[in-house]
Subunit: 220 residues, 2 copies
């Protein structure tokens, strides 16, 4: 992808429309009102473009996202989101109160370490035939843990009444749950939070259904 010279200072997101970790970063940029360029990395085509030598230089884990920003390249969505948080003005992704910050990080990590890695493409490819049941098991288990925690912490959003990194993680994970046919109706707090958040512009415009690399038949 050739970038015109005037774009060089914009962050570049190397991502995939359906990747929940890429979506997290898109939400963060949208919430802060930061313009960015997207370079699609097709995780499926030709065996996966994340495995090219070129992409491996950007992210040796050969996963999306990788973000080029301020002269460095970062992988791991929560590291990217907290870098954006610490270097950009605009609405904060973390509350001021240290206990609430810890709750935001706990909820984020339950999703980012406890659920998503277990239903990641590279894991499911290794599981093979049983991949649907595998993904359902770990999403179900994670949501059974998240629901009582969110009952305690949630206001309008996951922790209190301000959108935080926890919300940035929750919505893409609910999208994955629905893809893998986990019945989200079992989890009324998760369901309510997701519905509320999906009314927010930053979550809508960053949705997998409307990205530059979204295939025509999946666009809405």
């Amino acid at each position: 992808m050739h970038l015109p010279l005037f774009c060089l200072s914009k962050p570049i997101l190397h991502g995939y429309f359906r990747s929940s970790c890429s979506w997290r970063v898109r939400i963060a940029f949208a919430l802060k009102g930061i313009e960015f360029d997207q370079v699609p990395v097709n995780l499926i085509k030709d065996g996966g473009h994340q495995f090219t030598d070129h992409y491996k230089q950007l992210n040796p884990m050969q996963q999306v996202p990788a973000v080029h920003i301020d002269g460095i390249t970062l992988s791991q969505s929560l590291a990217v989101i907290q870098y954006i948080e610490e270097t950009r003005p605009g609405p904060s992704f973390l509350p001021v109160d240290p206990k609430k910050r810890a709750q935001v990080r706990m909820i984020s990590d339950i999703i980012a370490s406890g659920i998503q890695p277990l239903q990641n493409l590279c894991v499911l490819q290794r599981i093979g035939d049983q991949k649907l049941q595998w993904a359902q098991h770990f999403i179900q288990r994670g949501f059974e843990a998240l629901e009582p925690i969110l009952e305690e912490t949630a206001g309008t959003y996951c922790v209190g009444d301000e959108i935080s990194m926890a919300d940035i993680c929750l919505v893409p994970q609910v999208y994955n749950a629905e893809r893998f046919k986990v019945d989200v109706d079992q989890f009324p707090t998760i369901k309510r939070l997701n519905q509320t958040l999906m009314e927010v512009d930053a979550f809508k415009e960053s949705h997998p259904s409307c990205q530059p690399d979204t295939p025509a038949d999946l666009r809405t």
Copy 2:
């Protein structure tokens, strides 16, 4: 476990001697010089004490660690470590420079989201017979990504010359790699960092070989 009254204000770590995520928290407390109490949660005995109703109240994910601190209970080790960082004096786990902070979080998350969850007990139990090969595959893959990143970021420690959260994550992951017979000699930077860090008191005193619940035959 009965706690004498004078201990009530100390943090309580519900953990397991061999759990790498519990070890991360023990290192963080040790680096900050914070006294804490340990309540062992035996992950193996009687099918696993993490599955009791009592423990599920502490951590609905039914994993260790769970930390009771300042009147709240937190799970997810990186959330706990960053809470300690933000509320306690002493050596900092995150550099001042935002780009270096981001690199610390990226390396931490490669381990905490990209490697450890895939060789976690609950995953290996579900894998069954192939669990050794499964764990080796994901640790090998993760270390192949970490090695070139650490070549770029490391000084004496993972990022520059100050011990950070990345080091707190690295050492317990190397311990796991050795448990699962991954040849760490393939990764000279990881090996060198681990050796350097294992000379530091906070890493030594928190080692799985010398915890209150370490079985006699595993003590050194």
